[in-house]
């Protein structure tokens, strides 16, 4: 029991000791943070480390969160501030009298115009206007509200420009600003507070490295890694770019001069910059001169000074060379350019009348904005114009320079996407808005899209064809004695015209043939093969007939005594013995055989059907066979080789009871008597 008591006491003591140590560490972190915080905005980044440590140990203190927000606003991570102000306000709405102001400012930086306006107005409404501090704060928040209105308007009608960070090759995690470029954009010089500045020391007043000038060259649209310009331009103190003359031969630089800040000029001698030369005292005064630009003829210097007698803050002044080449009196550019707020970084265009500069006093959307002012014929500047969003932002936009082409601008801007506290950006001006053009085409005339009368309707109509029906005559040609297939010639004759219209061969291997005969004609078919008597067929299609197929087995007889054949294409006038012209083709085939076999003798016989008397038919058939004989004689065949006989209806080859049979019986035959 006693031991247990001691154990509990020991654990409690240990916990107490741990809590006490934590409490001590927390207090130390807060005290350290406070120490830096109270030194002003330049030390807030150091304070931030301690406040964040304290907040991680005890996140319940609204005031610490508020201070973290303030510190973030002065760091490269200023967009982190909003969440801390928001939390601080939620934990304690009275955490600081200006918490609404800073919340408004955070929204303002983030272009959240409505929310910014709400918080700014909340802050403004809490101010007690009797107090001097409050009057200043009233003026400040009133200006912020004006900036919000300007910002809202500018964002609604952006200019045609693209803004892009020059990239991590140029910009680093430190501060990079004040770019100057050669006319052809091949050389970029700028000021940087990076780690390798001359002397390598940190300015305790800003907790940043001393400024040096760096140079980068552009090859194939890529900027080379920046190099320190080195002595005599850079020194261990602050050395910063200001501007480059139009001809690129004179570089205006800023030298700190132990805090007084003055403008110097370096001249390009060969490929080296000369020692910086100071301007006379009316320009480089005991006050702070930080920026300048030559006029196109280098006879006037426009420069910035916070000397007394100005309109407030830093103002832009002008000083010209007199006839003897000496810098004359300095003159303030007056209220058209200068305001009670700061004006900075003038840049005179080669046209001699246009000046770009930065101002917090004109109609800005927050911090420094870039303005353009044009000089009238009497040498006075007209009212400056904000060059607009997206070049200008709610934060500082400064040190604008424009390429000779007018296409590109370079400047320093504080943006969310930046690499450091301030980065160098390239602006590409797009000129007037360009609208792509649609292309349309119409077929206006109907007659072009489609003929008013289609060609088909203009065409002459189809020709009348007597018949489209076709008779197919097919079969096989064989040797009558052996039954062997024969390759024979099939001659097709238009009997009406007495002309051969076609000639084919039967297949040599099979003896088969197929002949297409369009209807409308009387065809004579003669089949001939060597050493064989020809065979004839008559196919009369002169009367329109339906499609049909005729199959014939044609057996060709050898040329030997006793062989008979019907001449199917020998025709006579009705009831007469007169040969009709349709008979000529076939009779000529007979003439040919008789000529080919000059010793051959044949009988020519004619036959009738049984219509009429026997005597009559015998006479008719005799006369008909004689007609054939006469024709052959007329063709040179000797009469002694021919024998004409009329058989009447004594040797029918078919029945005389049918028309078809009678037709077959009406015939002329030949018979080989001797070869």
């Amino acid at each position: 029991m006693k031991n247990g008591f001691f154990l509990v006491c020991f654990i409690c003591a240990l916990m107490w000791s741990n809590l006490a140590a934590q409490s001590r560490l927390y207090k130390e972190a807060v005290l350290s943070g406070d120490e830096f915080y109270d030194q002003g905005p330049n030390m807030h980044r150091k304070a931030l480390v301690f406040y964040l440590r304290a907040d991680s140990m005890d996140g319940s203190r609204a005031e610490i969160k508020y201070r973290i927000g303030r510190c973030y606003l002065n760091s490269p991570l200023k967009y982190n501030a909003q969440a801390y102000f928001q939390k601080a306000f939620e934990m304690n709405a009275n955490v600081a009298f200006d918490v609404h102001y800073y919340l408004g400012f955070c929204y303002h930086l983030d272009s959240k115009w409505d929310q910014a306006q709400v918080d700014y107005e909340a802050f403004k409404s809490n101010l007690k206007l009797g107090k001097k501090e409050s009057r200043q704060e009233f003026a400040e928040v009133t200006k912020r509200l004006e900036e919000v209105a300007v910002g809202r308007k500018l964002v609604e009608s952006p200019i045609r420009a693209q803004v892009e960070n020059l990239g991590s090759g140029i910009n680093g995690p430190f501060t990079d600003y004040s770019p100057v470029i050669s006319a052809d954009e091949s050389v970029l010089m700028f000021t940087s507070r990076r780690i390798n500045t001359t002397g390598g020391k940190i300015d305790p007043n800003y907790d940043e490295y001393f400024e040096d000038i760096f140079v980068s060259n552009r090859f194939n649209n890529t900027w080379s890694l920046p190099e320190n310009l080195g002595p005599p331009v850079n020194t261990p103190g602050h050395d910063a770019t200001i501007n480059l003359s139009s001809d690129g031969q004179k570089l205006l630089i800023y030298i700190d001069d132990n805090g007084s800040g003055n403008i110097y000029v370096c001249k390009l001698e060969g490929d080296r910059w000369s020692n910086p030369e100071a301007f006379p005292r009316q320009i480089s005064s005991k006050d702070h001169e930080s920026a300048a630009s030559f006029s196109f003829d280098e006879k006037t210097l426009f420069f910035v000074s916070d000397r007394s007698g100005g309109l407030g803050g830093s103002d832009i002044y002008a000083c010209s060379l007199d006839e003897k080449g000496k810098w004359g009196e300095v003159r303030n550019l007056g209220p058209s350019i200068n305001t009670p707020y700061d004006e900075q970084t003038p840049f005179m265009m080669p046209d001699g009348k246009t000046m770009y500069f930065s101002s917090k006093g004109h109609e800005t959307m927050g911090g420094f904005d870039i303005f353009k002012a044009e000089m009238d014929t009497s040498g006075n500047f007209k009212k400056p114009v904000n060059i607009g969003y997206p070049v200008n932002t709610p934060d500082d936009d400064m040190a604008f320079v424009l390429s000779a082409s007018g296409r590109h601008g370079y400047y320093a801007s504080v943006r969310k996407e930046g690499y450091g506290l301030r980065d160098i950006y390239l602006i590409t001006f797009m000129g007037k808005e360009k609208i792509p053009v649609l292309t349309n085409e119409d077929v206006l005339l109907a007659g072009i899209s489609k003929p008013v009368i289609e060609t088909g309707k203009m065409m002459a109509k189809a020709e009348q064809i007597s018949s489209n029906n076709v008779i197919i005559l097919k079969g096989v040609i064989l040797d009558d004695d052996t039954g062997v297939p024969l390759e024979a010639t099939i001659s097709v004759t238009d009997n009406a015209k007495g002309k051969e219209v076609a000639s084919f061969q039967s297949n040599s291997k099979t003896g088969k043939f197929l002949v297409s005969l369009p209807s409308g004609k009387n065809y004579g078919i003669a089949v001939q093969a060597p050493s064989h008597l020809f065979h004839s067929e008559n196919i009369d299609l002169s009367i329109q007939v339906e499609n049909q197929e005729i199959i014939k087995e044609i057996r060709l007889k050898s040329l030997s005594a006793g062989t008979r054949m019907v001449l199917r294409n020998v025709f006579y006038d009705f009831d007469k013995a007169t040969l009709r012209k349709e008979s000529i083709v076939e009779l000529n085939l007979l003439v040919k055989i008789l000529n080919d076999y000059p010793t051959m003798r044949i009988e020519l016989s004619s036959h009738t059907d049984n219509k009429g008397s026997e005597r009559y038919n015998l006479d008719l058939s005799q006369r008909r066979s004689q007609s054939v004989m006469d024709y052959l004689i007329s063709k040179g065949i000797k009469a002694n080789r021919l024998q004409a006989v009329g058989y009447g209806f004594s040797i029918p080859i078919a029945s005389n009871d049918t028309e078809q049979g009678r037709q077959m019986n009406r015939r002329t035959e030949i018979k080989i008597l001797s070869k």
Partner: protein, 361 residues
């Protein structure tokens, strides 16, 4: 079976161009020697075969068959006329003109040949000669609306809208239900700036032929010109419901959809036009515009480049590609495109070039 075989054979026979044809068909067991005898109406049969081929839109085949008919029967007037008409379809205007002239030598009163010859002249852009030929036809057949109508088309093509209007008006007076005439009269009025009159005439054409897609399309274009985009969209949609493959109407409806801010639907129409005709450069150029408005500048450049490949004379494709290139900071290349567009007549490009260095002009 036998009948079908006969029919097939008959068709085969009909299609044979020669007087006689013999060949062996079948396998070794059934080798048959085949012979075909054609009738003496060879030229007429070939002529009819040519007509069949024309109906099948086999224009080269039809032309060959008419030529064969003419070989068989020189001076075959109908074959000469029809070959001329087929050659018009084939855009072989020299042959067409020669054939029509041959018909007129055989038969000077052939109206078809006169009309064909006038059309050949018109198609060859010999509008003045064509107008003379149509005038002769007007004298021969004063109540025929067609010579007036075709004459109007010639005047329209010559840019003489006053005379075109007179001719089209006469054509519709002679034939009041002539929808083509009303459409073309509307188009003439459109060219004369008489948009109300044009609208009435297009509507009259549609009233006469509700399926007249071209009149709907032209009404849509008239509405587009007068910036009544909703009405234009309706008219184009109507036209496309009748003629869904019409690339010009698809392209024009895409333009209207773009004007109405319906970027995706517009792009769909332009793409559809290019799918129907992959050579249609204008739709590619307009697809580029749709992509530009969607801030797809690279896509715009791709589409315009395709348009330029298809039609290197399309000034707007160069202009639009230049504008897209400017948006992605390719200024030098943008200026080069504007320079080409300016040389091809784009006034906008000439204006934009003023922003470019003189070396890029």
């Amino acid at each position: 079976m036998k009948t079908a075989w006969m029919m097939l054979f008959s068709i085969w026979v009909t299609c044979l161009p020669k007087v006689l044809l013999a060949q062996h068909v079948g396998n070794s067991d059934s080798l048959v020697s085949v012979g075909v005898v054609m009738e003496s109406q060879e030229a007429e049969r070939t002529f009819n075969l040519a007509l069949t081929r024309f109906q099948q839109k086999d224009y080269p085949g039809a032309k060959a068959a008419f030529s064969l008919a003419l070989q068989s029967k020189p001076g075959f007037e109908k074959a000469l006329l029809n070959r001329g008409l087929v050659c018009m379809e084939l855009r072989e205007y020299a042959i067409a003109q020669s054939d029509f002239e041959a018909v007129l030598r055989i038969n000077p009163s052939s109206e078809s040949a006169q009309l064909g010859l006038a059309r050949v002249l018109s198609n060859q852009k010999k509008f003045t000669e064509a107008v003379e030929m149509f005038s002769k036809l007007k004298e021969r057949t004063p109540s025929n609306h067609l010579p007036y109508y075709e004459s109007g088309m010639c005047y329209f093509s010559l840019g003489d809208f006053e005379k075109a209007s007179q001719e089209f008006t006469r054509a519709v007076e002679l034939k009041p239900d002539f929808a083509f005439g009303w459409n073309d009269l509307g188009s003439t009025k459109r060219q004369q700036g008489d948009f109300q009159g044009a609208k009435r005439d297009y509507q009259k054409a549609i009233e006469l032929d509700s399926q007249f897609s071209l009149a709907w399309s032209n009404l849509g274009s008239l509405m587009r010109i007068t910036q009544d985009y909703s009405a234009a969209l309706d008219a184009y949609t109507k036209a496309l419901s009748m003629d869904p493959q019409n690339i010009q109407t698809l392209n024009n409806r895409g333009s209207v959809l773009l004007e109405l801010g319906k970027l995706d639907l517009a792009a769909d129409d332009f793409k559809a036009a290019t799918q129907i005709d992959p050579q249609y450069a204008i739709a590619f150029s307009n697809l580029g515009v749709a992509r530009f408005k969607n801030k797809d500048y690279h896509g715009c450049i791709d589409a315009c480049s395709q348009a330029i490949r298809l039609d290197p004379n399309l000034a707007n494709a160069f202009l639009n590609r230049g504008i897209a290139k400017e948006m992605i900071s390719e200024f030098s290349s943008a200026c080069q495109d504007w320079s080409i567009a300016a040389k091809k007549g784009s006034e906008n490009a000439k204006f934009y070039l003023m922003e470019c260095p003189t070396t890029e002009h």
